[in-house]
């Protein structure tokens, strides 16, 4: 148990950096043969986890496709209520954040802690903007106009009896995605705090940065599919 975070015997820190979380002080868990093996294992684990996330969203995409086939008019009517400009802005914001988080990984690999922190902060600002736009310009006005899911639907000018179903799919799809944005942001905050406090990431220790960034790319990727399906095609 105590050996899981064993200090690295090979690299000894010098000077003021004596905290065990400082990247040069980090070792690897005792059941791995070396740090590379641990890094590979963590990355494989993360990719497997991402595949489960994709399958989770696959259920929503599948429901979208089936009901789109059954009720094309409802889908066309529903998607007219979405403003592509907000969706497009959010797409740009997420793409930008994917770029900055990738730059953050690069900064960690190069041992440039200041650049890592800078990139993470920009990414987090993008995450905040995304959620803000989603809530303030989309969810709240739509819900107050009665465009709510299922039986809560009370919008008086609906064109098609199956429009409530469209809104159910819209809120579930984008809602679960937004939840993932928040989880991803939480992971990045965790990385940021450790980068600021302990300078925890560097050329030999960036697993956490890389895996959180992978998660963030997944969040981006799912939005890339949600955006055209919901906003662009009718």
């Amino acid at each position: 148990m105590a050996t899981i975070d064993a200090p690295n015997p090979d690299i000894q820190a010098t000077g003021a950096q004596t905290h065990p979380l400082y990247w040069k002080n980090r070792g690897f868990a005792h059941h791995f043969r070396n740090a590379d093996e641990q890094f590979d294992a963590c990355k494989l684990g993360m990719w497997l986890f991402l595949s489960t996330e994709i399958l989770l969203f696959a259920g929503i995409f599948c429901a979208y496709a089936i009901f789109r086939m059954l009720y094309p008019e409802a889908w066309a009517a529903g998607s007219h209520h979405l403003d592509w400009r907000f969706g497009g802005l959010n797409t740009v914001i997420l793409l930008l954040s994917s770029w900055t988080v990738a730059s953050g990984v690069r900064a960690a690999q190069l041992g440039n802690n200041a650049a890592l922190i800078r990139n993470l902060v920009i990414t987090l600002i993008c995450a905040g903007l995304f959620v803000f736009i989603k809530l303030y310009f989309e969810y709240i006005p739509k819900l107050s106009a009665g465009k709510a899911p299922g039986t809560f639907f009370s919008y008086p000018y609906a064109h098609d009896p199956h429009e409530p179903l469209w809104w159910s799919i819209y809120y579930i799809g984008t809602g679960i995605h937004a939840l993932h944005v928040l989880i991803g942001a939480g992971l990045l905050i965790w990385v940021l705090v450790r980068a600021i406090r302990y300078e925890a990431y560097g050329p030999t220790e960036y697993t956490m940065v890389e895996n959180s960034a992978l998660y963030w790319h997944l969040v981006d990727l799912i939005w890339i599919f949600l955006f055209p399906l919901l906003y662009l095609i009718h």
């Binding site: 868990a29 005792h30 093996e37 294992a41 494989l44 497997l48 595949s51």
Partner: protein
């Protein structure tokens, strides 16, 4: 396989079971452990407790079916086990019966059989058989145990609050309309949702462990077949479970917010739920059976002292079953699909029989000319071959469209899946527990008592479920609390069988308790096995092996290798070297 220096025995490192602190300290040590062996043992006790709960419900269901429910001319009711005895109470009694079989199904599927072999025996033996010190992510492993416990508690609370009568499959609209004034259905659905995460994390951990932590010298085809089976299982767990996650989440939204996705009144489709559900739950029946098949490969080879026949065929058939499992879910909805789709799903379903039969023939060929030791694990393995053959072959009439229209939702289906799930997985699980008991706890069990228990389980099982095949073909529908008089003889026999089963399990229980208290100390390798777990102490030391293991021979090379640490009184050295 042999350790680099097996002659150096360091006895300074204690077994993983040795308590190092006081009572509270030891409890705290177990609750916070990241040792895969302790987590495996904690899983073992947790799933066996759930097996007990689900078993009690099963016995109650069988007891209610001992007599048909009848109202006499004077108004007295006979044959009703639950609820008050007046004519208006029949609905109440039926309601209780529904909740009991739902409870039995939900507990047995989600809380017992899915985690049974992989999480309990897999956790303990996967790293040992790979020659690793632990699984790849030990803390994640402990976390998944806690998720399992939380999920199971949700399920148990739901039962205490009155239970659900949706059936374990939570089909809509039962699951969206029944008990509308109460949140216990939500709690039960949430339990299955939470348990899914535990399953995903365990599977993920095992895949990474198998890829990254094999001992030096162990290639993919030097792995024991149990590992191949667990690996195939883990792939299904990782790829199928998220789909049930989103399905149950949609179901929760449906109940809470009436989103309409499964509600025809709002344009939704209840059959869509069934498609989503079985896209997970059909692959998952192979999560239940594949690890059992892995155990059988180990037991047959070790206790018949024969090299496993067709190693690669068995390994690839595990992956084959995992692959086919994803494309057969439609056979649960033959009556709700078009003719073409039904025909395609029927044809795909038959494909499952091929890899399964490959395994079966290879196992039987392994036994041929082996020196078969008749002991409890071997008896269970032989029972598995017999029972699982019946379970598998009776799947074919259910997969064929014409016969399925007659047999679906009848006792034939009940008997079929009990022959595969219980006659397959539970029998293999029991065989595996006996096979690895000396390694896990360092004590031998009483062989005679074990064999008596096995024979009782075998007889009881067949009496309970063989009768149900006949009931099914005669038209007895599943999930009914009563039946016509003609069915009573078979129902009575089936209920008697369940009591014999209980007796068999009790014999095992007392045997295990006796072994823990007073069993003789187990040698490191009581069966003369060649896989790596037999190379360390019984029970294993805290870090599994004294030295880093170096794999020097295959897991089943009984014809060329003398097992190390073997009790030589039982397995004398060969007098003349074999010609090859």
């Amino acid at each position: 396989m042999t350790t680099a220096e097996t002659t150096h025995d360091h006895h300074d490192e204690g077994s993983y079971l040795t308590p190092k602190y006081g009572v509270m300290g030891t409890i705290w040590d177990w609750m916070t452990t990241v040792d895969h062996k302790k987590i495996g043992v904690m899983y073992l006790f947790a799933v066996l407790f759930m097996f007990f709960l689900g078993g009690v419900a099963a016995l109650a269901v069988r007891l209610e079916l001992l007599e048909p429910v009848r109202v006499a001319a004077d108004g007295t009711i006979t044959g009703q086990l639950f609820g008050p005895a007046n004519p208006e109470s029949i609905a109440t009694g039926n309601n209780i019966f529904n909740r009991l079989f739902t409870l039995h199904g939900a507990i047995m599927v989600f809380m017992f059989i899915i985690p049974s072999v992989p999480a309990a025996l897999g956790n303990f033996f996967l790293p040992l058989m790979l020659g690793a010190k632990d699984v790849a992510f030990p803390r994640l492993n402990l976390f998944s145990w806690y998720i399992y416990v939380v999920g199971s508690l949700f399920g148990v609370f739901s039962i205490i609050l009155g239970g659900v009568d949706t059936g374990w499959t939570f089909y809509t609209p039962y699951s969206t309309t029944t008990d509308a004034d109460h949140w216990r259905v939500l709690l039960m659905v949430l339990a299955a949702f939470v348990l899914g995460f535990s399953s995903i994390l365990t599977g993920l951990n095992f895949i990474v462990t198998t890829h990254k932590l094999r001992a030096p010298g162990m290639g993919w085809f030097d792995m024991p077949l149990f590992i191949w089976a667990i690996y195939a299982t883990s792939i299904i767990q990782v790829l199928a479970t998220p789909v049930i996650g989103i399905t149950l989440l949609l179901l929760i939204f449906e109940r809470l917010f009436k989103v309409g996705i499964f509600d025809p009144a709002l344009g939704g489709d209840p059959v869509l739920y069934q498609h989503f559900f079985w896209f997970y739950s059909h692959p998952v029946v192979y999560v239940m059976i594949l690890p059992g098949m892995g155990i059988i490969s180990e037991i047959l080879s070790v206790h018949a002292r024969k090299h496993i026949f067709g190693y690669r065929a068995i390994a690839f058939s595990s992956l084959g079953i995992a692959a086919v499992s994803f494309i057969v879910w439609g056979h649960h909805m033959f009556t709700a699909m078009g003719e073409l789709a039904s025909t395609i799903f029927s044809a795909l379903t038959f494909l499952v029989a091929i890899p399964t039969a490959i395994k079966m023939f290879n196992w039987i060929a392994t036994l041929y000319k082996g020196s078969i030791a008749i002991n409890t694990p071997m008896l269970y393995a032989l029972s598995f071959l017999f029972l699982f053959s019946i379970g598998g072959l009776t799947g074919l009439p259910l997969g064929a469209l014409a016969t399925d229209l007659h047999l679906h939702d009848s006792y034939f289906v009940v008997a079929h899946f009990h022959y595969t799930m219980m006659g397959g997985t539970v029998i293999a699980f029991l065989g595996g527990i006996h096979h690895w008991w000396p390694k896990m706890f360092g004590r031998m069990y009483n062989e005679r008592a074990g064999m008596i228990g096995c024979v009782l389980v075998f007889i009881g099982f067949n009496l309970t479920f063989m009768t149900q095949f006949f009931l099914g073909t005669q038209g007895m529908p599943r999930r009914y609390a009563s039946y016509i008089d003609e069915f009573q003889t078979l129902h009575v026999l089936s209920t008697y069988g369940s009591w014999i089963l209980l007796a068999g399990f009790l014999v095992h229980l007392f045997n295990f308790i006796h072994s823990l208290v007073a069993g003789p100390k187990a040698p490191p390798n009581p069966w003369g096995g060649l896989t790596l777990e037999w190379e360390t102490e019984s029970p294993p030391i805290e870090h599994n092996f004294h030295h880093e293991v170096l794999v020097q021979h295959g897991p089943y090379d009984f014809d060329t290798v003398v097992p190390p640490h073997c009790d030589e009184r039982e397995f004398p050295l060969p007098e003349t070297p074999a010609s090859h």
